[in-house]
């Protein structure tokens, strides 16, 4: 099968859904003429024209307000928030309007709205352009949250998100844009709410998502080669709704759980995962305390050495795996 990048996979998903459904349109800062800050939407303006590929003013509040109105009146907007850090600028539209409308109006209107948001550190973009804000968003009922780790899933999940009648926040880690992977050319979707087991193992479980999946797999291979222990790596893919069954089954199977995410630990999504495990019957099979390996509780530093050191690395993940197996 052909290989394309994560960014190309997202562009294909957008283009295919724009062709498939005339109600779909795309807007954001510098997404049309410039092709997006990370080049994800390059070429879309030429094919779909300025009515459907729209540049907006530099106002996330305005973008979100327009998207909510469009979604309520029958369109299926996809918006790009240039850096996921900036969702804080449109929190009212996202959390108080998009997330609530279907509930508060008794389901009289759908809210088919997708917010694409490049996230994560590693690009030297410092504290205001490098965050992993999934925990903020996961805490708002009514929003679905997706964090794909491969080009295949990025395309399939984005198409599923666009076809979903609820608001979906689609977190794309910037360091994944250039990673390559096999992606089918035929139309397909990846359903929201289904985790993927990336590696079978019986000694311990790693719960992770996004760009930490690759690092966890590397660490798991190292552990298998050097220690003969097999780690199961579960890629959550969707955080809300969470595939609780897959999480619980794996924890129950191995009895040891390591949770890895780039976002900082305190109040992070890993705490929710730990609680899901501990609150299920998998608890009775736990043979070690559930362990989290997360980003440091600090703004992402600008200094590249410091920046690399505040998030989990293959080394630190391997060390945590070994520690869990002691």
């Amino acid at each position: 099968m052909r290989e394309i990048t994560y960014a190309q996979a997202i562009r294909e998903a957008l283009a295919e859904e724009l062709r498939r459904d005339p109600a779909v349109f795309f807007m954001g800062e510098d997404v049309a003429a410039y092709g997006g800050a990370f080049g994800v939407s390059a070429g879309l303006l030429a094919e779909f024209g300025p009515e459907r590929i729209r540049d907006t003013p530099i106002s996330e509040a305005a973008i979100m307000g327009a998207a909510v109105g469009a979604a309520m009146t029958g369109l299926r907007p996809v918006v790009e928030i240039m850096f996921s850090d900036f969702v804080s600028c449109c929190f009212d539209g996202l959390c108080n309007q998009a997330a609530k409308t279907r509930y508060m109006f008794g389901g009289q209107t759908a809210m088919p709205l997708v917010v694409r948001a490049p996230a994560g550190s590693g690009t030297g973009a410092a504290g205001q352009h490098s965050q992993s804000p999934e925990a903020w968003i996961c805490n708002v009922p009514g929003l679905k949250v997706v964090a794909p780790s491969t080009p295949h899933d990025a395309k399939g999940l984005l198409k599923a998100a666009i076809r979903d009648d609820n608001p979906v926040v689609f977190l794309e880690q910037k360091l994944l844009y250039r990673t390559k992977g096999e992606v089918p050319e035929a139309d397909y979707t990846v359903p929201l709410g289904q985790a993927a087991c990336r590696r079978d193992g019986r000694h311990l479980t790693v719960l992770t998502y996004g760009r930490m999946v690759a690092r966890c797999l590397e660490a798991a291979e190292r552990l298998a080669a050097e220690d003969g222990a097999e780690a199961e790596v579960l890629d959550l893919r969707t955080l809300v709704p969470l595939d609780r069954e897959a999480v619980i089954a794996s924890a129950r199977k191995t009895g040891r759980v390591l949770i890895v995410h780039e976002a900082c630990q305190t109040g992070g999504f890993g705490g929710e995962l730990a609680a899901v495990v501990a609150g299920s019957d998998a608890f009775f099979y736990l043979d070690a305390p559930v362990r989290r390996l997360c980003g440091a509780d600090t703004p992402i530093p600008y200094n590249p050495t410091l920046e690399a050191s505040v998030v989990p690395t293959t080394d630190s993940i391997a060390a945590a795996l070994r520690d869990l197996l002691r």
């Binding site: 009895g255 608890f283 009775f284 099979y285 736990l286 043979d287 070690a288 305390p289 002691r326």
Partner: protein, 425 residues
């Protein structure tokens, strides 16, 4: 057949060699087999305590594993091949200070004491706790292997698996006993078959009720609880009947049994005594037009009562054939369920077992049951002479709510008369 000593055939590692978990350390020979002993921990072989060829009691320390450069503790093993007691549980009898002095550092396979929280609780993972609970193990007796002092599954699992021999486990299951609740007398406290045998000595074997046994229990208890019964006994002179049977035997062909003759006489008598061919149901007496004779048949671990329908209409030979077939099929378990329904009177026979008298229990809602005992030769005075006659004792139990003593006696005498004035039917 418990193993008490073993011979060290060969050391596969030398002191100073590095050993990984599961690697063969030495070869030992038992009464039956030669096998390899695997290392239970990784490390360096510090000392091999017995030469090749030595006979060593089981549970004796034979080697120390540890970190390179460590000194093994001063060893005070008994001499090999000595006829000392074969089983010695270490740690429990040893002086604690002595132990501390001789115990190598904690990295050795000899483990630290169980950790305890200040309140006396034992820290353990949920998985370890679950297994201990399932197997009835006391966590306080388990030694933690993890540096944090909390018991892991791996600490508990070997105990759960090792403490009971397979035979003991099977015997315990049979006796409905938890083997782990016993103190094991085997090697290292293992529970053996002997422990189970000792524990169950003098205890009853618990036998769950089969479906048939439960039914019998319910119906017999119901009968005794509800029916005010009385038993009447008399003996019938069956000398002529026996003589008739001898004549039939000489003539060849199938000969009705004494019991068949009783069934025949009872069927005829029941046709004349409606209250005995009756059932008592919800305060009403139901007198049945047909004689449906129940015949009690002993089967494995129980009793069934198939019914011979319309018995009063059958000739002796037809009744005899029907009874023989029905009993054979009942013993083979081949009768349909409705073959046991609708009886109006029951005959039960313990004669072949030599019983001289018994008090049968009525099969409710029937109102009477006839017990047939063993025939015996008796001297009888007749016309001033003593003659030997064959006598058949009969016992009738009747429901006194329906049948008074005089009526029961009249019925029994009617049966007696038929049997005594036996004419070839």
């Amino acid at each position: 057949m418990a193993m008490e000593t073993g011979v060290i055939r060969r050391w596969l590692k030398r002191p100073g060699d590095t050993v990984a978990v599961g690697e063969p350390l030495l070869e030992i020979e038992t009464d039956k087999v030669t096998m390899e002993v695997e290392a239970e921990a990784s490390g360096t072989l510090l000392a091999a305590l017995h030469p090749e060829g030595a006979t060593v009691p089981v549970t004796e320390t034979v080697a120390w594993l540890g970190q390179p450069g460590e000194t093994p503790p001063a060893v005070t093993t008994r001499p090999s091949s000595s006829p000392s007691p074969a089983v010695r549980i270490e740690d429990e009898n040893a002086d604690e200070d002595d132990q501390a002095a001789t115990r190598p550092s904690s990295s050795l396979s000899s483990s630290p004491a169980p950790a305890r929280a200040p309140d006396g609780r034992v820290p353990a993972t949920p998985a370890a706790r679950r297994l201990a609970r399932e197997r009835g193990l006391d966590l306080a007796r388990v030694t933690p292997s993890h540096p944090d002092g909390a018991l892991r599954l791996r600490d508990v699992a070997p105990l759960a698996a090792r403490r009971v021999t397979p035979l003991a486990r099977a015997l315990a299951a049979e006796a409905g006993l938890d083997p782990l609740a016993l103190d094991g007398s085997g090697c290292g406290g293992k529970v053996t078959a002997a422990d189970i045998t000792r524990a169950v000595a003098g205890r009853p074997r618990r036998v769950p009720l089969s479906g048939m046994r439960r039914l019998i229990a319910e119906r017999m208890a119901l009968s005794r609880r509800e029916i005010p019964d009385a038993t009447l006994a008399l003996s019938a002179d069956v000398t002529d009947l026996f003589a008739w049977r001898e004549r039939r035997k000489r003539a060849g062909g199938s000969v009705p049994s004494v019991n068949d003759a009783v069934l025949y006489a009872v069927a005829a008598a029941l046709a004349e005594f409606p209250f005995l061919n009756a059932t008592f149901e919800q305060g009403e007496i139901l007198c049945w037009p047909d004689v449906n004779l129940g015949v009690a048949v002993a089967v494995d671990n129980g009793l069934v009562v198939p019914v011979l329908r319309g018995a009063q209409r059958l000739t002796l030979d037809a009744l005899s054939d029907l009874a023989r077939d029905t009993v054979a099929q009942a013993r083979a378990g081949k009768l349909p369920p409705d073959a046991y329904l609708g009886g109006t009177f029951t005959v039960t026979n313990l004669g072949m077992l030599g019983i001289a008298h018994f008090t049968p229990i009525i099969n409710p809602p029937q109102t009477a049951i006839l017990g047939v005992c063993a025939a015996e030769e008796r001297p009888v005075r007749r016309g001033g002479r003593t003659v030997w006659r064959t006598s058949l004792p009969l016992c009738l139990t009747h429901d006194h709510r329906v049948i008074d003593g005089a009526l029961g006696a009249a019925f029994l005498n009617r049966v007696k008369k038929s049997l005594e004035n036996w004419r070839s039917p």
